[in-house]
Amino acid sequence: MSEQRESLVHVRGLRKSYGDFEAVRGIDLDVWRGEAFGFLGPNGAGKSSTMRMIGAVSPASGGTLRILGMDPATEGPSIRARLGVCPQDDTLDTELTVRENLTIYGRYFGLSRAECRLRADELLEFVALTEKAKVKVDELSGGMKRRLTIARSLVSKPDLLLLDEPTTGLDPQARHLLWDKLFRLKQAGVTLIITTHYMDEAEQLCDRLVVMDGGLIAAEGSPAQLIRDYSTREVTELRFGPDVMLADHDALAGKVEDLAQRIEVLPDRLLLYTDDGEHAVAAVHERGLQPAAVLVRRSTLEDVFLRLTGRTLVD
């Protein structure tokens, strides 16, 4: 990159402990102006703790943190004046109207009433809620509430927008509508920081992301770069039918393991990580194996994620 990059969030050796529990165990990263930056990771990876520290509402337990060039320990209010925060739970006031939620929030930033009204109307237009302006928040659908929360986070015209799991719990239509809005914000020059555990969301929205696991950064890069670094170009999925047991899968894996860079044995199928999936399929057939179903697909961020953070369920 030739032009001067401005680091809006500068993190070195950042830590966060709650009592004996270390939620964030020393991470380094920079978020550059204008990019969409993602935090991926299973539950408990330390994403939300990191987001709260970046939001200047949670003091760091150690390390360096600069947000918009300022230290949150001493300049929290000045930092928060330039942030937009869309929290994981909607913290809307459900008994106020849609429009009141925006105008009142604008007042917290010291905006005049006239300015709040003006921005509220613009933002309602932007998130397609103009018709609901006078409706109580209680009566909105989940997707509408998320859109309103995002609109509210934009009232202060922030330099940096923090979105903590923005589409969790939404139906596909609502998710796509939100992605569209976030994409337009990014085009308008707003820097986005997003946490998610939806891989498709990360691929859609993020220029660059980190995968967090156990309070540490497991990998960093663009979605394409991460796929190149941590997976293969393609994945061949072989299914041998319901009668084939896991033990048989292990035996079958032994017969084809030289055909792929990496093999994963699952209860219902074998995954062959290879740069040429079709070639692997042909080779499997040449060896006299008869899989009941074959699928060749491109590697996704999900493959990277599962490789880095494992398939074990985290509660």
């Binding site: 709650y18 939001g55 509402v57 949670s58 003091p59 929290g76 209010p77 000045s78 928060r80 004046a81 942030l83 925060v85 929290p87 739970d89 913290t91 809307l92 006031d93 459900t94 008994e95 106020l96 009141e100 105008t103 009142i104 929030y105 007042r107 917290y108 930033f109 010291g110 009433r113 509210r152 202060s156």
Partner: protein, 260 residues
Amino acid sequence: MALALENGRRQFDYWLTVYKRTWKGTLVSSFLLPLLYLAAMGIGLGSFVDSNGTGALGGVNYLQYIAPGLLASTGLQIAVGEATYPVMSGLKWQKFYYSMIATPLRPADVVYGQFAFIAFRVTSTCLVFLLVIAAFGGLESPLGLLGLPVALLVGMAAAAPVAAYATKLDNDAGFAMIFRFGVVPAFLFSGAFFPVSQLPDWIEWLAYVSPLWHGVELSRDLSLGTVEPWMTVLNLGYLLSWFGIGTWLAVRGFTRKLIG
């Protein structure tokens, strides 16, 4: 200080909207209950007491004797009500405090905004109640108007530590304890209806610990012009300490809860 005032001003529209939404619902609890006490005790019981002579009351009739104490008690009850469920709602149910501190507002500003609203609720309710008392002839002289700032002070003296306590609770069951074992006994043994020296010693001493007794004393002394300077200073100092320490605890409790 200037910043806290500015940040308090920024919350004005929020609390105004909340009040517009809830004022009708507060009418019954805020006004009707003290009115019933006024009628039953001041007028009903009062006519019985007064018929035996008012010497023991210092020359005023029974209604005038209990009016300052009732005013102070009303201030306390309104304030405690506003420092319990609304605080829990801001932290747990609606979580509106969390949306506030994502802005330039600090946890302390949120506390001051909440307290300013409680002060407004206490003052407006007690003002109306004071007018009703006056209409029933319960004010012995214009000095009785001094009962209003005292009601505000005793309200805030109780609201501040109660708000701090509310930040420690996981659910609202603890509030029933406050009302059952705090507010109701404090009200009955506040000295509003009879001097606490009539009580067994150990209850009398409990009454002296309660901020409401100090509020009732202060309110009555100022209203009836029976001020003993050192006692007034003691009452004032005691109530201000409750408010000061309570506010410090509340800011600490809010900060721990909101910023972690």
